[in-house]
């Protein structure tokens, strides 16, 4: 068991999230940086979909009430196991009674903590992911708070020290073309790609909201509701785009500027308010090649780890 001493800005239990229920209005939820989550689980020889703890910004503290082995991936929050610094990308052995403290993220926004054997909370609709808006999943259906306990299986055997390199950050996000080109006009889409966009403080797990110093993207179009999903980029009448993330709703009535390619979506996990990004449209072959490259990276990791576990 782990006890939450300080949850920080937002701490939740996540796995890959829910599929098969979007027609009932159920969001995906799940780790925003699913790639980091997968690496963390693989370093511990867990199932790829085992639940992990998603830590936002830092300022958090956890106490282990049993022995465990952990993997920490994602942004560097200057974490310390008791008084010893630990670094993202590596596995560590934890003894009963030790505390894990996170200071503040400097270059990113989210970190992922996996424990050997995964987090044991009950599955709801085939997933342990916390759905914050609907109030189910995780241990309590809500964000973790002070004195909450997180069920894990003790692991006292030694686990090898293993590390994995995460792919570099990207600030040029690749998109599938808009299905609303005619409605929005090509000049709108051109302007969207020409500008640098800043992440606003109103961003959260539902979506990253963007603004530019000046833009001409305001409009008055309203559409019959259509399905949206993580990666859909909505353009509300204000002209300030929203990139929907894991907790985003299932349907919406705003025109879409495009869809983030699957290989680039995890980069949004590390964007914090004030960060700047750009967009470009790519074809299907480029999108598929980018995903294949990510998959190959994970496959290489699996092969490299095979002899170490």
């Amino acid at each position: 068991m782990i006890t939450v001493l300080k949850p920080g800005l937002l701490m939740t239990i996540q796995d890959r999230g829910r599929t098969g229920f979007r027609h009932l209005g159920v969001a995906q939820s799940g780790a925003i940086d699913s790639y980091a989550m997968t690496i963390a689980n693989r370093l511990l020889d867990n199932d790829d979909n085992d639940a992990v703890i998603e830590i936002t910004l830092g300022l958090a503290k956890l106490q282990f009430n049993c022995d465990s082995s952990i993997a920490l991936i994602g942004t560097d929050m200057q974490a310390k196991l008791d008084d010893t610094s630990i670094y993202p990308g590596w596995t560590y052995t934890v003894k009963q009674g030790q505390t894990l403290t996170f200071a503040t993220a400097r270059n990113g926004f989210r970190a992922y903590l996996a424990v050997k054997g995964g987090i044991n909370c009950e599955r709801v609709m085939n997933s342990r992911a916390t759905d914050l808006a609907a109030g189910f999943g995780g241990t309590t259906g809500a964000a973790l708070k002070e004195n909450d306990t997180i069920p894990i299986t003790p692991y006292s055997k030694s686990w090898p020290k293993l590390g994995a390199i995460s792919p570099p950050k990207r600030s040029l996000i690749r998109l599938h073309p808009s299905i609303h080109t005619q409605l929005l006009s090509q000049s709108t889409l051109d302007e969207f790609c020409a500008k640098s966009w800043q992440v606003t403080p109103q961003s959260n797990r539902m979506g990253v909201r963007l603004q530019a110093h000046t833009n001409q993207l305001a409009h008055s179009h309203s559409l019959p509701s259509l399905a949206v999903n993580p990666g859909s980029i909505q353009l509300p009448p204000s002209g300030e785009p929203i990139v929907l993330l894991n907790d985003g709703q299932t349907t919406g009535g705003y025109p879409l500027l495009g869809t983030v390619i699957s290989a680039d979506l995890y980069h949004f996990a590390q964007l914090k308010p004030g960060d700047s990004i750009n967009f470009c449209y790519v074809d299907l072959a480029t999108a598929n090649a980018a995903q294949a490259k990510l998959n190959a990276h994970l496959q290489q990791l699996a092969i490299a780890l095979k002899n170490k576990h």
């Binding site: 599929t19 098969g20 229920f21 979007r22 027609h23 009932l24 209005g25 159920v26 969001a27 709801v124 609709m125 759905d131 808006a133 609907a134 109030g135 189910f136 599938h176 299905i179 559409l223 019959p224 509701s225 259509l226 399905a227 999903n229 990666g231 859909s232 709703q249 299932t250 349907t251 879409l256 869809t259 390619i261 699957s262 299907l284 999108a287 598929n288 995903q291």
Partner: protein, 221 residues
């Protein structure tokens, strides 16, 4: 029937396709019935992670990205062949307490249309509604069939708390709040019918394409 109307099927992403039928027909309900029939056919294929109907459109998320082009063609073929009448959803009776403490806005809605509260309740509970699709939050159903005589602009000041089970009218729509939430619709009644239970399978009894009616349990007048 306009079974040969061209439908647009666009690629949204490496694993998703968007079938847009919003431009096809004067009769959006007839189009929606074809969407439901197509949903039913898609389910049987076991090729999709998610099949999400919305307003005169359908988005499918493929299990296998290599099949994107194949499904773009297949969906178009199926659309042309589909018969709107071949889909029959379930029918649900929503037992509803109208008015009084259950429906504090019945008088407001009545006044807005020059009706008595009793007439509002009769008009609301005598219609058969079609479940167009679900969205917004788990279990929230978008219904077709509210008589124009009850269309009422949303409240100027949304309530910060609307109880789960509230039956309400907002502009041209009527619906049921599946969970406690803020809300700007006029509350005319309450039902104990459970729209969403995350521990049940399926979690929502009501599915796109179903029909429902509100059954009046009692009224204030």
């Amino acid at each position: 029937m306009n079974s040969q109307a061209p439908v647009s099927i666009s690629i949204l992403s490496s694993n998703s396709l968007f079938l847009d039928a919003t431009h096809l027909s004067e009769d959006s309900l007839m189009t929606q019935k074809r969407i439901w029939a197509l949903v039913s056919q898609c389910k049987e294929s076991n090729a999709f992670l998610d099949i999400v109907p919305a307003m005169n459109s359908l988005t499918v998320y493929l299990l296998n990205t290599h099949e994107l082009a194949k499904w773009q063609t297949t969906l178009a073929t199926w659309w042309d062949e589909i018969d709107a009448q071949q889909y029959q959803g379930a029918h649900h009776k929503i037992l509803t307490h109208y008015g009084g403490e259950y429906g504090p806005d019945v008088d407001f809605v009545a006044d807005a249309h020059g009706l008595t509260p009793k007439q509002v309740i009769e008009k609301h509970s005598s219609a058969h509604y079609q479940v167009l699709f679900l969205g917004f939050q788990p279990g929230f159903v978008y219904l077709h069939g509210l008589t124009t005589q009850l269309h009422t602009p949303r409240r100027a000041n949304p309530r910060t708390h609307v109880a789960k089970g509230s039956v309400a009218i907002g502009a041209g729509q009527t619906g049921i709040y599946p969970a406690d939430s803020p809300g700007g619709w006029h509350i005319i009644g309450h039902t104990d019918f459970s729209l969403f239970n995350c521990h049940a399978n399926p979690p929502s009894v009501i599915q796109p394409g179903d029909t429902l009616q509100f059954v009046c349990l009692e009224s204030t007048s």
